[in-house]
């Protein structure tokens, strides 16, 4: 079985560490980027099977990254799970409009992240 790759874009070190631990334990190959630009470069050079995207980032927010992804052919259909601590309805709507695959608010249940990721890649 080929190991699926997931990229986590998250600037909170503790959160990205938690996600990496959970997903690694469930058989994912996990890469973490805290910086939006670096993340975009990595996505273009080596697109993963799925993306976990934080909304609030220091340089470039999650919406901007999503918009970029959906504009480029290689990542147009990339499954994206957006995690946000803000959790406002307006954010959820905007994310849906921009073509997000799943949207979850922090704090999250670990199991849900794992199953969401699994569903996204399977379908």
């Amino acid at each position: 079985m080929v190991q699926k790759r997931v990229l986590v874009i998250e600037d909170e070190p503790n959160i990205s560490e938690a996600i990496r631990f959970i997903l690694t334990r469930n058989g994912w190959q996990v890469d973490v980027e805290a910086d939006g630009f670096a993340a975009l470069a990595r996505l273009r050079s080596a697109p993963p099977d799925a993306l976990i995207l934080d909304l609030m980032l220091p340089d470039m927010d999650g919406f901007e990254i999503l918009r970029n992804l959906r504009a480029e052919a290689p990542t147009r259909d990339l499954p994206v799970l957006m995690l946000t601590a803000k959790g406002q309805v307006a954010d959820r709507d905007l994310a849906a409009k921009l073509g997000v695959t799943r949207f979850m608010t922090k704090p999250f249940a670990n199991a849900e992240v794992v199953s969401a990721l699994h569903d996204m890649v399977a379908s």
Binding site: N14, A34, A85, Q88
Partner: protein, 902 residues
């Protein structure tokens, strides 16, 4: 002639006067007053100037002083021929302003001042009473001369009784014809006609006697001239100075005498009549004076020595056996006296009632709070009473003076008295700068001098003025002697009085006018009087319309609006039987339009606007003043509106600002809540994720367990600190913070802060540069809060200073009561675009984990400093990050927050 017959003759004559006056009144009432309004009647009525003094006294005067009596006629002649301009202006103003007397004229011109009315009235009464007494005296005298059976007459030779009956009779006549009705114009056609008749009688009488004397007694004009030369006395020599003075005096009198003003101005119906009078009246005067000198000469020649020359007109025919001529002369004298008394008492009574009695009565009624009611009957009754009073005064004067003075002297004294009105009168006509104060001062000063130098001494030394005053002067001061004031002894008393009184009068009038500032109403009246010819006329009607309806419609539209204006024009056109919007421009239409416009812009403005559009009338000063006053009202109203709308827009702006602020606050609140949510959820996410991992502890290595527990612990601390900061900020922001104010040493506070901040990145070496001397400041403030700010700044510096060998320079300054501390590090500083953000909540410039805070520190610092009555600012361009903290050295118990009001 017997007394009874003479009385009957007089009564018959008076009955004739009654008949004529009644006829004239009836004609005037029926509107058939055409012939009454002829220039001839006007000219004849002017002959009221020629009184008994003229009739009898002139002959006496001629007998004593030769041709000098002519001066009394030359003055008026000069005025009518040469000063025609003054008369015309006087008459025009008088008629247009419906002036009722000379007192009214002066009062009206000088701002409708009743004070002036009273002064002029009193002056005229003082001068007029002796004059009336003189007429009574002359009638009484002529009676006693004429009546042969005086001793058996019912009056038993008592002249005063005759005078009394005459006075009563004249009062009755004047009341009947002078106060029939209260005409706004104060015109009395009956009286004027009767006066005109009397003018004819006295002229005919004098001419008849004269003709008899020249052709019947002497041998014609040549003989008379020879006799005159033979009779000439040394006193008959012409004295140029005295002539000039007397001509001037009589010229003034013809304008200023109340009775002359009455017939000349008040009774005038058309100022064109003056044109006729300007030659006809001098002719009359010439005719009446023609035979004076012959009569005087022949009287002196033929009459026994000791005869009174004042009575020659009558006694000469009597002496020569011509009783019929003597009776005619008697009637002439009688008519001269009665006409003067009637007009003078009418004029004086009008003044007394209008300026003294009615104002007093009204004030009395007003003081009693009573309604003034119908004034008509009151004014008429007051006037009737006044006539009786005036005649009563004349009679009293006659009794008291005893009739001793020569007739002419009394007349001249009166002339000088009324001459005091001249400066104010001429000022009224020609000088807009003449003021009420000046007129009052001039009149009073002139009247006082006249009384002191002429009137009072005329009673005789010791009667009113003590003999000592006459010889030694007032208070024993020689230069105050009545007949030689300031040592002026070269003039005879009459000219002396005329000179001084008029000089002082004119001077005080001018100085008073220059020094006082006329009130608005004085200025308006002044302009009205002086510029009388610039006015189109008294009637504000549209006699000669030239406007086009096409011009008037747009103007009306501007004022009352397009639709109403068009509607109005259409309606007016329809009324004229025309279709469309343009009616014929008739005077009726213009009046209706003016009325319509007046509703919007005021009457005066409407009048002026139509005048302008119609191009007919000149806009008068009165119109302009009315416009100005309306404009002022409109401006006041519109400025009130403006103020209100300004207030409204101010309120609206405030509301808009408040609304904007609320919206901004609402947005800020949403953003803040969103921020808080994010800041709280972030540590909780870690805590939840790791605690879920920890639940499955069996699969974890002990190292992993310890690490994850540590993360959970750190994130819990972070969460707690965040909550603490939020609560702190909330308390500070709402000004509910309880400050713990006490004494503190600044150096110790900074020591404490430096020590506390060392726990942040404790491994990093941070050099702190301080100058302990400046730091020795004793403070009275909340030391704990201040230290919190210092710690925050120092901790930030430890966290963010980018230098490899980080340094912090702390510099303390004192300015007045404020302490200022700069904290400057040697790092990269804060980017310019972020400097304005750093004091905002959650304005974290780098990622939170690296900073280890929630981004509330500087926001809290700012709140603390404001609570301490100071501030914290970022100082750019100091080589590194530089924060300046300033606060009062001594903080009052509760310093008001700088933004407390917000």
């Amino acid at each position: 002639m017997s007394f009874n017959l003479l009385v009957l003759t007089c009564l018959g004559y008076v009955a004739l006067l009654f008949a004529v006056a009644s006829l004239a009144e009836r004609s005037a009432e029926e509107g058939r007053a055409g012939w009454l309004r002829s220039p001839l009647v006007y000219t004849l009525s002017l002959s009221v100037y020629c009184t008994a003094w003229t009739f009898y006294g002139a002959v006496g005067y001629a007998a004593r002083s030769g041709l000098e009596f002519m001066t009394i006629y030359l003055g008026p002649t000069l005025v009518f021929v040469g000063w025609w301009v003054i008369l015309r202006k006087l008459v025009r103003i008088g008629r247009e302003n419906r002036v009722t007397s000379i007192a009214d004229f002066i009062s009206s011109r000088y701002g409708k001042s009743n004070l002036l009315g009273v002064i002029v009235t009193l002056l005229c009464i003082s001068a007029g009473t002796p004059y009336i007494a003189l007429q009574l005296q002359s009638i009484a005298q002529s009676f006693t001369v004429f009546v042969t059976d005086m001793d058996s007459a019912p009056v038993a030779g008592d002249r005063t009784l005759i005078a009394l009956w005459v006075a009563i009779g004249l009062a009755f006549f004047t009341i009947v014809f002078g106060t029939r009705n209260l005409d706004a114009n104060e015109q009395h056609h009956g009286v004027v006609t009767a006066i005109a008749l009397e003018a004819v009688v006295k002229l005919v009488a004098l001419l008849a006697v004269g003709i008899f004397v020249v052709w019947g007694v002497a041998g014609g004009p040549a003989d008379v001239m020879a006799r005159i030369d033979a009779q000439a006395l040394p006193e008959w020599q012409i004295q140029p100075g005295r002539w000039t003075g007397l001509i001037l005096l009589s010229a003034i009198a013809i304008i200023c005498l109340p009775r002359m003003f009455q017939v000349l101005v008040v009774e005038n119906v058309n100022d064109k009549h003056l044109a006729t009078a300007s030659w006809a009246f001098p002719t009359y005067l010439f005719a009446i004076s023609l035979f004076v000198l012959p009569i005087a000469t022949l009287g002196m020649e033929l009459m026994p020595t000791g005869s009174n020359p004042d009575m020659f007109v009558m006694t000469l025919p009597l002496h020569l056996g011509r009783d019929d001529l003597a009776l005619l002369a008697f009637l002439g004298g009688f008519s001269a006296a009665t006409s003067m008394v009637i007009v003078a008492s009418l004029a004086l009574a009008t003044m007394v009632s209008n300026h003294i009695v009615v104002p007093l009565w009204l004030r009395l009624r007003a003081a009693q709070g009573q309604d003034t009611g119908d004034m008509r009957l009151l004014v008429l009754n007051v006037r009737r009473l006044s006539i009786s009073i005036v005649l009563g005064l004349g009679y009293l004067y006659y009794i008291m003076s005893g009739g001793s003075e020569a007739l002419a002297a009394i007349g001249l004294i009166a002339f000088v008295g009324v001459a005091q009105i001249l400066p104010a009168l001429l000022g009224a006509l020609f000088w807009r700068g003449a003021s009420r104060t000046g007129a009052a001062l001039g009149l009073s000063a002139g009247a006082a001098l006249w009384a002191y130098t002429l009137l009072l001494p005329s009673f005789g030394a010791g009667v009113i003025l003590p003999a000592s005053v006459m010889t030694d002067g007032l208070l024993g001061l020689p230069w105050l002697r009545p007949y030689s004031l300031f040592g002026l002894t070269t003039l005879d008393p009459l000219l002396h009085a005329l000179f001084w009184s008029l000089l002082v009068n004119v001077l005080t009038f001018c100085i008073g006018s220059f020094l006082s500032f006329p009130s608005p109403i004085e200025r308006v009246q002044g302009a009205l009087f002086v510029n009388i010819y610039e006015r189109p006329g008294p009637a504000r009607s549209w006699s000669r319309p030239m406007a086009q309806a096409e011009d008037l419609l747009p103007m009306a539209q501007r004022i009352i609006g397009a639709k109403p204006a068009q509607g109005f024009f259409q309606e007016q056109a329809g009324r004229q039987g025309k279709a469309g919007f343009l009616p014929d421009i008739t005077p009726e239409f213009l009046e209706a339009l003016e009325l319509k416009l007046a509703g919007s812009v005021g009457a005066a403005t409407a009048h002026a606007m139509i005048a302008q559009s119609a191009g007919t009338a000149v806009v008068s000063v009165e119109d302009l003043m009315a416009v100005a006053s309306e404009t002022a009202q409109i401006m006041e109203y519109s400025s009130q509106l403006e103020a209100q709308s300004e207030e409204l827009s101010r309120t609206a702006r405030k509301l808009r600002e408040a609304n904007d602020k609320l919206r901004k606050l609402s947005v800020q609140k949403d953003a803040f809540l969103s921020q808080i949510s994010h800041e709280l959820r972030t540590p909780m996410t870690s805590i939840r994720a790791f605690s879920e991992i920890m639940m499955d502890a069996d699969s974890l290595s002990p190292e992993e367990q310890a690490h994850f527990a540590q993360v959970i612990h750190d994130e819990s601390i972070r969460l707690t600190r965040l909550l603490d900061d939020l609560l702190d900020l909330s308390v500070l922001e709402h000004g509910q913070v309880q400050l713990d104010i006490g004494p503190a040493n600044l150096r110790k506070l900074i020591d404490q802060a430096v020590t506390s901040s060392k726990s942040v990145q404790a491994d990093r070496h941070f050099r702190i540069l301080r100058s302990s001397d400046e730091e020795e400041v004793m403070l009275t403030t909340d030391a704990g809060r201040l230290t919190q700010v210092f710690i925050n700044i120092l901790s930030n510096a430890r966290k963010y200073c980018t230098s490899d060998a980080p340094e912090m320079y702390i510099q303390v300054r004192q300015a007045q009561d404020m302490v200022e501390i700069d904290f400057t590090d040697n790092g990269a500083g804060i980017p310019t675009e972020s400097q304005s953000l750093i004091f905002e909540k959650f304005a974290r410039l780098t990622d939170s984990m690296h900073a280890g805070g929630a981004g509330l520190g500087l926001a809290i610092c700012r709140e603390i400093m404001q609570n301490l009555g100071g501030d914290i600012i970022y100082v750019p361009g100091q080589g590194g990050a530089s924060f300046r903290v300033s606060f009062p050295r001594v903080l009052a118990a509760r310093a008001p927050r700088r933004e407390a009001a917000e």
